[in-house]
Symmetry: C2
Subunit: 309 residues, 2 copies
């Protein structure tokens, strides 16, 4: 059995201070799957237009992704264009053309309805509800969202929380959703509405996992060049959920490692345009970066040093 | 021998969403020493006016601080007043009255001129130079600064870097000083000009230590209430340098722990107004928080798990 991922399969045009890329692979499901399949198999449900270069996704199929749930329809694929500011601190959206995505009605193939692990990419909460209506008692449902849905589909999103085990959300979005500027309190507000676990993503500052009586902090990997931040959050989710699918465990020690895989994949994502960094990424490179994360966060407490002496 | 700290000894009036405090203990040297003396002795050099309640510093003297280097002069003490925004995301300065601090000429008492460890609080770079001119071959010089000096006394500050071992600086100030928005590159720019170690403080997001061929990341401690952020950076420096003074070591493992002590002291600082949290703070409370930092950052890498199986 593989993990089910439902999200956008898109084309992106991106300009950064380092260059530009035209109509390259993008969308939450594509970024997520590019990262997650390095750890565990993924089945994707999405929709593309007849302009989509599905062959370009062969590298995912070769790594065990089941792409048969990507429906091809007459019309244009979801297209997004953006330009990042000189300091990479923000971006301007130049175009958002929904195309066939405007009428997306996720249909979960029979074989995927028993998926144990489900990732709901950043799509309308009503569609995220639709997906869950079609899946039989999944063990873990993780979900992403964005400010657009928090503002425009608040009730649907809040009712969805009760069906979600892990909400993955940006810090600003967590504050907006809970109407609370303190992240500890905002995460409690969210957890009170359903999710046992809230993962707050803070971009270059890393991410925090909030659970019932513990939390875990993973830094962002300090890079000299952030080439293209597009999709980093989806790749974080892919690393995190890839580890969940691989281990089948939500034990704290496994969730800690899931957080680190998330930050690792997010850090690789921004090193190139699109999903380019994932095409040839090796397990050795991933484990080497995990060792770097360990080195940059591990310390012995005073009590541990005393005990050793 | 104790550590030498030169900085401001001030009175602060602070308004936060949680309340207000009038003319309470403040200044970089006071915050630094409140944190550092929980780990090691400190000798303070500074200046106050005849309005300063020096008795209120007795708790520092009782913990081994030597305050005889605080000169009392006719006139008003350095006074700062500020109001924090409702979301604690920023603050407005309501008043800055230098008083006797305007003519501060640090005179290092004979007994302190052989100090091994020196902390230069956030004062004019020319005064920081003056201090170093009076200290005989210190082993470790750490230094703080701020945007005001980066803009107004750039040359003096850059020439100071060559005399400094550890620069402690905010992320925005590091970017401004190096004119480089990437922190990895900015820290290299700074290290190329003298300091072996650059500690970049990122407020609630924690801090990063950049050294020659390694780095270390400590998160901020997630608090439900940030009561008053004033002085948190100085208390971070106090925790960091207190550990350096205590151990006499710049070994990476000790510097990692110094970073954690820094973040611990910064997290205590914001829990109350002024230095109030440090007055009764116990070693047990500090070590308990260190255990919490360990719990929220420690993970076993994939390779470690494999090796164990």
């Amino acid at each position: 059995m593989s993990m089910l991922c439902v999200g956008s399969v898109a084309l992106d045009s991106v300009e950064t201070p380092f260059g530009s890329a035209e109509r390259v692979l993008g969308g939450s499901a594509v970024f997520f799957t590019s990262a997650a399949t390095l750890l565990a198999p993924v089945s994707v449900v999405g929709v593309v237009g007849d302009d989509y270069p599905l062959d370009a996704l062969d590298f995912l199929a070769n790594r065990g992704a089941d792409l048969s749930g990507i429906e091809k329809r007459e019309g244009k694929s979801f297209f997004w264009a953006g330009r990042y500011h000189a300091d990479m601190g923000g971006r301007d959206t130049l175009a958002t053309e929904l195309g066939v995505f405007a009428d997306f009605q996720p249909k979960i193939p029979e074989a995927l309805r028993k998926s144990r692990h489900v990732f709901l990419g950043n799509i309308a909460p009503s569609l995220q509800h639709d997906v869950l209506d079609q899946v039989e008692s999944p063990e873990v449902v993780a979900c992403d969202t964005m400010n657009y849905w928090i503002e425009g589909s608040r009730d649907s999103l809040v009712s969805l929380l009760d069906r979600v085990d892990i909400l993955m959300i940006n810090d600003e979005e967590a504050r907006q959703l809970a109407d609370e500027c303190n992240l500890v309190k905002a995460s409690k507000w969210i957890r009170d509405r359903g999710p046992d676990i809230v993962v707050v993503k803070k971009g270059e500052h890393g991410a925090i996992l909030f659970a019932d009586d513990w939390l875990f902090f993973v830094p962002g990997f300090p890079l000299e060049e952030v080439f293209d931040p597009t999709g980093a959050g989806d790749c974080f989710a892919g690393g995190f959920m890839g580890h969940v699918e691989q281990t089948g465990s939500l034990d704290p020690d496994d969730l800690r490692r899931a957080m680190v895989y998330g930050s690792i994949m997010g850090s690789f994502a921004v090193e190139r345009f699109s999903v380019d960094r994932f095409i040839d990424l090796t397990p050795d490179a991933i484990e080497a970066r995990m060792a770097q994360f360990h080195e940059m966060t591990a310390f012995q407490s005073h009590a541990q040093v005393e005990a050793r002496v």
